[in-house]
């Protein structure tokens, strides 16, 4: 078991969004403000960690043929719990994330980690994998939402940085989501090609 390697993979070399290209819908849709990004990222991290542990515990009980359906039910259960908790304690965030909280059920990151990692490993590495991949996802969400909020409306986490008149409001719209993510992935590919060239 190699914790350092897992952390590095989750955050950089196997980053769920930038390298594995999973979980696009929520990444594009909710990254308009930093608080949304943090809320969504942490919710996914919690759900991913819990479902990874649970699926890894059940990995010998779940029959091969119905495993996908079983994973989805486990994930949907945890998503419902997080959804209700958010509505009770953070109604603002629950309100602005809206339909994207229940949609975490079909976020490909969680199903992909269940299928490719949790179903083959012991609970502890599965939990660490969930935390690392979740934090990698959260990191991308925070970077993206910071770029879009700062340049799109001139604020950062609600605080005014420069007057809204000078902001490129396009970045806060759907267009900005696609463009920002495209540039971030391009940057990642550039870094990877540099790293390969250096060796």
């Amino acid at each position: 078991m190699n914790i350092g390697k897992q952390i590095k993979e989750g955050l950089l070399t196997q980053n769920p969004v930038l390298v594995q290209l999973l979980g696009m819908c929520s990444t594009l849709a909710i990254t308009t403000t930093v608080s949304n990004g943090i809320g969504m990222g942490l919710s996914v991290t919690v759900i991913l960690t819990l479902s990874n542990i649970f699926i890894s515990l059940l990995r010998k009980i779940i029959p091969e043929q119905v495993r996908i359906a079983a994973y989805i039910v486990v994930i949907a259960g945890f998503v419902t719990m997080v959804d209700l908790l958010l509505q009770a304690f953070f109604p603002d965030i629950a309100e602005s994330l809206g339909v994207f909280i229940p949609l975490i059920v079909v976020n490909c990151i969680i199903l992909a980690r269940a299928e490719s990692f949790a179903s083959k490993s012991k609970p502890l590495p599965a939990a660490i994998d969930g935390i690392c991949q979740g934090l990698g996802y959260t990191m991308v969400l925070i970077v993206m939402s910071a770029i879009r909020e700062l340049l799109g409306s001139g604020t950062l986490n609600g605080a005014q940085v420069f007057p809204t008149e000078y902001a490129a409001s396009m970045l806060a719209l759907p267009v900005g989501g696609f463009l920002t993510l495209g540039c971030l992935i391009a940057f990642m590919q550039w870094v990877q090609s540099k790293a390969k060239g250096g060796k």
């Binding site: 594009l28 359906a69 989805i72 949907a76 229940p102 719209l173 495209g182 391009a186």
Partner: protein, 195 residues
Amino acid sequence: MDWRILLDIALGAVLINNFILVQFLGICPFMGVSKKMDTSIGMGFAVIFVMGLASALCYPVSLLLDALELQYMRTVAFILVIAALVQLVEMFLKKAVPTLYEALGVYLPLITTNCAVLGVVLLNVQNDYNFIESVVYGVTGGIGFLLAIVLFSSIRERLEFSDPPKAFKGFPIALVTAGLMALCFMGFSGLKIPW
């Protein structure tokens, strides 16, 4: 039933609030299977079919949950209905219309995890649509998906032969292209049917 409301819903789902380009639902299949025109057409029709059926089936389920005061089980119930539905459709098509089954191939099971399908049934509940409105919203949302993915795949076939900066090759340039398409679809936002 006022057909104008239905027309409004249809127009909204296809153009103004296009599921992919404005609401960001169903991006994964949009990016994943849009490399070739014919596969994207197959995927588009499969999605129309499943979204329409799922809207129809989830309406009574949500009524039942309301009656039992089990609203918090909505997400779990809906995803199970969708998973079962996709499985049934797959089995039915295999027996009844093998040609269509062959054409859809691997895309059919993939639809279970398409967020546009779960999204449309959740939005139906959120918007308080009745049965007919739900089905219209589901089908036209699917048509919007088909429109976007076919347009996008035809651009992407040409992107293969273009020469972007090295770092942008492949996925990033496709995302930028999708961004420009979203910009075009913003032009529809003022659209209204004059009565």
